[in-house]
Symmetry: C2
Subunit: 134 residues, 2 copies
Amino acid sequence: MVKKAGSRKKSGEWQVRPRWRITRADQIALGPGKADLLDAIDRTHAISRAADEIGMSYRRGWLLVAEMNASFVEPLVTTSRWRGEGASLTAAGRRALRLYRLLEATSLTAARGPIRQLHTLLRAPSNRRRRIGS
Amino acid sequence: MVKKAGSRKKSGEWQVRPRWRITRADQIALGPGKADLLDAIDRTHAISRAADEIGMSYRRGWLLVAEMNASFVEPLVTTSRWRGEGASLTAAGRRALRLYRLLEATSLTAARGPIRQLHTLLRAPSNRRRRIGS
């Protein structure tokens, strides 16, 4: 994942974020990790480099690609060489990834009202004291 | 969690759902498990029974309540007796839970378009064959 230089948001401010998952029983067609893997495959053109870039083992990257390809009508990723070298997104892969990012963006925009109200209830960083129990 | 009689959705159909989390670094103020715990405390009036009802250990229920109470300006749960017997939601607890459920509902409604489009890309149950790799 790409780190933003100078960003101090992570430790200082509360983040309200959705993690979308497409599931059926214990099968996960698409979720945050798989979407990041698709993005990384699109950048690096190899499952091995993509997995490495997002701090995932090569084996896990391969298994996630297999699960995605088994969940969609058309495979999302094709590989031109043995075991994930020369990988790229198919048209279906690009479409699924675009729709997943649209899910995230649409829901964040739509939920601005409740997000703003939740922020008013949250303890500010400077005001942080541990209140265990009541 | 309440099981719906006659529901066959879980194994047969793809579900597209958001899991909202309010985080700051490694601290989680509210998420799906904590929201379910708040609902259960409101029903059972005890952390022990609430944790039991949603299949969580008593210790974990207690730790989640402590983390929630430390994250918000006002505690979300108060306990009237030792270690979580006689627990109830505060006004802030009810408000945070209501806003969290509003987040879920608002985002699902707003994302209907991309959700519908993703469904057209997903493999139907009757059409399920394993396509590993490409």
